[in-house]
Amino acid sequence: MNLVIFIFIVLLGFTSYYFGRKKAYSIQATNTRLTALPQFYGYYLAIWCAIPAFIIYSLWAIFEPSIVKLIILSDYSNQGHLDDELNLIYEKTKSLSRGQFSGEITTYLETSAEKYLNLRSIAQNSKVVLILAIIIASIVYGYKRISSNNRTREPVEKFLNAVLFTASLAAILTTIGIVFSLIFQTIDFFKVIPLFDFIFGTHWYPAKAFVRDASEPLDPSMYSDTFGAVPIFAGTFFIALIAMCVAIPIGLMSGIYLAEYASTKVRQYAKPLIEILAGIPTVVYGFFAALTVGPFLKDIGTAMGLEVSAESALAAGGVMGIMIIPFISSLSDDVITSVPQSLRDGSYAMGATKSETIKKVIFPAALPGIVGSILLGVSRAVGETMIVVMASGLAANLTFNPLESTSTITAQIVVILIGDQAFGDPKTQAAFALGMTLFLVTLSLNIFALRVVKKYREKYE
């Protein structure tokens, strides 16, 4: 039904475009000069027809369910039910009215269900009537306003401008959405677990929070040794460090080679080939790390008499490093190519070889940009999820031995939230607190890196 109304409004909008234009043509036919092209009169009428109706339509869609719920539950208000029970009653009522209810049917429920159906049909009918009335009123108004001495281009363009502006707010809304989704759960989490314990505690064992009996009240002292995030912070930065140990030398050297030495032909083929590495989904890297690299390292380790876990930090970090190579190589390539030629020429004129020029002149000149690209790579490594989930362990060990398994912030979020979550549970909230940490860390890394890169660009432009 909602879909029908929606399509109806859209179709009516299109037809009113033609009517508006037709009226404009007929005015034109009487040799009167119009103030805008005829199609603007069409747009004008279409906007008048569709927009008020859409506003009513969406307001209705937002508020109808909660108002209906309020009316239904007002019958139960004096019986002393808890909020959860009231919600349950409402759900039961809804499923009974749809005829899908299989539990025990009480008379209360039956009357509620009847009332629910009744209310829904009243709401539906009044919605249709209201929308029709609005459409007719606004079309008549808009149609009347179409005349030779009325401007239509300006209002239509103003409207379009408003639409464009609203769309550009999407980015801000997304950021606000991220902050909102994280902040409430995080605050709730820190009400139970002191911030100090979270940041400096050395024991992370969220599974312990799972065995809690839900009927008992929350006892914060229970969690004193459960949510100490030091092992996962350490694990995150350790794995990122391993990744950067692989990515920086290879990425930087290939960036330099592509920018300074490679012939156009080599560049033409090698650059896109290396960038393929950036396009491969991370879950594929994760599978590769778990199936091939992990066992391979384990075999080598056993041959050398070392004890290597099949899910080692080295495997995850190494494969993550391979993934980050193209980011560093293409960013540093860009940075190096934008160093002005005059610096190179000056160095060659003093008799320096190419590599000396690169090491002593170009590299220092490009350093801020390179640091920026490395920081972007680090932020990528910190936020990477699937490789760690699949290739490194899920238990948070506090270790700096690359041959053992460690866990990261992202992996712990997945471990906690995979499957069913109960909001309001400290374990779920812990995941959001971790998400908040991750968001803040990557955000500051990004802002810093982007600023460095931007400053650098301005220097040579």
Binding site: G177, I178, I280, V284, A290, T410
Partner: protein, 422 residues
């Protein structure tokens, strides 16, 4: 003195050579990783496109199926095929003990009953006759036949018993084992049994998510880019929007998953595990990518075009909508496709919104629970059974195939339709 100079010069040249060598080996290493990677995926995955069938003679005995004489189509539809199917397998070795009979039954997939039924429904005249029927082999035998299974392990360490191997080898000798193209990998939904698992459900899930993502992200991103590039005044607020976009492009994908979980599921109460929620989450993630691509291609349209339109009396809005935007479309479209390709490979946010649930039906709309291709890879990669390893690789091949096609498409649009100014 001269000798010293020469020495110094030589060492400088050697340093030059070494430096070049480092550069070359870095590129070589990067390409080597890529090659190993692709080789590994293909070498473990190509076998999944073959499926092993056991050809077993089935005697369609009316009595075993409890059928009367001249059964109607409905009777055949409702008949009990289980006993017949069991009997068929037991007939492979008439002297089998009870335990061995159980082993015989486990040599085929649990679809064997359905496969026999389909055969009879296709040709009801088979009642009372014997016909060779193709039955899907169990995944362990499938792996044995493909040579992926070490046969020399002690019996208690492998899932195939010696007895099953003996019967299987007899069947191979009689030419009753056949390997054919694995069509069911593309048409079946996910399953707990490796031999019956297919990518149809996750494939449709991916398609629906990407469509939802496209429908939401593309218009919003293009409108936002037009505003920022053509209309926005230079002020603090515009700068703030720009900073936001640049930062969103670098926020880890899992944070978007938390957004989907905390807002879309918890606040708006959208249905869990559905491509609708997945698509919305992914669209928020691809939004900055498309905005950045669209702005870049709007910027590339030379000012002379705008000036010409304005000089002819077009309004700012007409200039933008009739001239600038159409000229920037190739760049925008190719940026959109690249953004969608990224979204197609995304896993972590979808796991958080519950698209990781086991779905053994093919979703028919964005409101049905579904997985997606990358999530399917994750689910199968976490399964212990050997049969899933090749499935994962095959699924990766399908996913990579789609990504390559999308990227090629983006390249073609860019090179074919984009106007070169200057």
């Amino acid at each position: 003195m001269n000798k010293n100079k020469e020495k110094l010069l030589n060492s400088r040249y050697r340093a030059e050579k070494r430096f070049q060598f480092y550069g070359k080996s870095a590129i070589f290493l990067a390409l080597l990783f890529l090659t190993i990677f692709i080789f590994k995926i293909f070498s473990t995955g190509y076998t999944a496109f073959q499926k092993t069938w056991l050809i077993v003679p089935v005697t369609f005995d009316a009595e075993t199926m409890y059928l009367d004489e001249n059964p109607s189509k409905e009777d055949l539809e409702d008949a009990d095929y289980f006993d017949l199917a069991l009997q068929t397998m037991f007939n492979l070795d008439k002297s089998a003990s009870e335990k061995q009979q159980n082993d015989l039954k486990r040599m085929v997939s649990y679809f064997f009953e359905r496969e026999i039924k389909r055969e009879l429904l296709n040709d009801p005249s088979l009642i009372g006759k014997t016909k060779d029927v193709y039955l899907t082999a169990s995944d362990d035998l499938d792996q044995v036949f493909k040579g992926n299974y070490p046969r020399d392990l002690p019996e208690d360490q492998r899932r195939v018993t010696d007895y099953q191997l003996k019967i299987f080898d007899q069947l191979v000798e009689q030419g009753r084992v056949e390997s054919k193209f694995n069509l069911s990998f593309f048409t079946y939904p996910d399953s707990r049994e490796a031999e019956l698992a297919g990518i149809a459900s996750s494939f449709m899930g991916s398609i629906f998510s990407i469509l939802v993502c496209l429908v939401i992200a593309f218009p919003v991103a293009v409108l936002a880019a037009i505003y920022l590039e053509e209309f926005a005044p230079k002020n603090r607020f515009t700068d703030f929007i720009e900073v936001n976009i640049n930062n969103l492009a670098a926020v880890p994908s899992i944070v978007f998953g938390l957004l989907g979980l905390g807002i879309l599921l918890a606040v708006f109460q959208l249905p869990r595990s559905t491509p609708l929620v997945g698509g919305i989450t992914l669209s928020l993630m691809t939004l900055p990518t498309i905005i950045i691509a669209c702005r870049a291609s709007l910027k590339a349209v030379p000012p002379s075009i705008r000036e010409a339109a304005l000089a002819m009396g077009a309004s700012k809005m007409q200039t933008t909508m009739h001239h600038t935007v159409p000229l920037s479309m190739p760049g925008t479209l190719s940026g959109t496709i690249i953004g969608l390709a990224q979204a197609l490979g995304e896993t972590a946010p979808l796991i958080l919104i519950g698209m990781v649930a086991f779905v053994n039906t093919i979703p028919g709309s964005p409101l049905d629970p579904a997985a997606s291709l990358p999530v399917q890879i994750y689910i199968w990669a976490e399964s212990a059974e050997r049969g899933f390893v090749e499935k994962v690789s095959a699924c990766i091949m399908v996913l990579l195939g789609f990504l390559i096609i999308m990227n090629l498409f983006a390249q073609i649009i860019r090179h074919k339709f984009e106007k070169k100014w200057s």
